[in-house]
Symmetry: C2
Subunit: 148 residues, 2 copies
DNA sequence: AAAATACTTTACGTTTACGTAAACTTTATC
DNA sequence: GATAAAGTTTACGTAAACGTAAAGTATTTT
């Protein structure tokens, strides 16, 4: 069984390499909704998915507030009226535009890194050419060794 | 002349839609290096490029510290020894890996947004189907109007 | 049953990236 | 020459996203 039904806080923390502090913080901010057994948190696989989404969002530069907004909107959307659905579609379109911008940024950055890398390699080649010439010089004039 | 040689702080701020406070902060953190005329800052086109890079970095989720590191590294690299060049190449490789991760994240997000949007559209279609049926019912039983 | 382990709440501390206000100087405009 | 506009420094404030104790509870292991 790959998909357990419930998770402890430390299981999730270990799996996604975050601290338990972070997980509790995400709950505090309303992004996760674990149930309790006594006072101990019990996380569902839905919570697990959301944690994954939170972290991916972070890597993509989304704030927790933004991610929460999406979560909330989605939850309302599922049983929502027309207005809610249209709002969700609109939000999705906006996010898509944001992703397009990011893709452009990444493409630009990659191009610039290409030229940066090329310059580095040229400079390296130059240095190594000089080195070889020095070695050559030594081989052709071994009296420099004899003089020692 | 599209490329002026120098810029005032408010020119740059307006062009890139940031506050002068931010620009001063970036200088304070060592990311920009304007010269002075009296005590007034004068920014070069190099500064302008760097500001552009700073902002793109931000959109890509880079911290100012990360961006500064790259700037500093690059400046040292240009006139650098072999060690510096190799370090730069290594750093570039790392950044590339980071961008790959981001591209994956974006692709994943786009797929999920596709299915989310599809669900929205289905739900909308359902709602509008219901609406049409109500309209039809009214047309077929106009006595409901007469009863008013 | 004692000790170790995992979990909890409460609460103050920290870093990043600025916002905002105060008080002042320099430059442009009427 | 007064006034407005743009610039400056200094400095305190703030939101986000946790870090880091402290002090207590609950459970598991020996």
């Amino acid at each position: 069984m790959d998909i357990k039904k419930t998770y402890s806080i430390s299981e999730l923390a270990k799996e996604f390499d975050v601290t338990t502090r972070s997980v509790r913080f995400y709950e505090d901010q309303g992004l996760l909704h674990p149930t309790r057994r006594g006072q101990t948190r019990i996380f569902s696989s839905k919570d697990r998915v959301r944690l994954k989404l939170i972290l991916r969002g972070k890597r993509m530069g989304f704030s927790l507030a933004e991610t929460k907004e999406l979560f909330d909107l989605w939850d309302e959307t599922l049983s929502g009226n027309e207005k809610q659905l249209l709002l969700m579609l609109d939000t999705l379109a906006n996010k898509r535009a944001q992703l397009e911008q990011q893709k452009n940024d990444i493409a630009q950055a990659e191009m610039e890194m290409d030229t940066a890398e090329a310059r580095c390699r040229e400079a390296l080649a130059e240095l190594q050419k000089k080195k070889r010439q020095q070695t050559k010089a030594k081989q052709e004039e071994p009296e420099s060794i004899e003089q020692k």
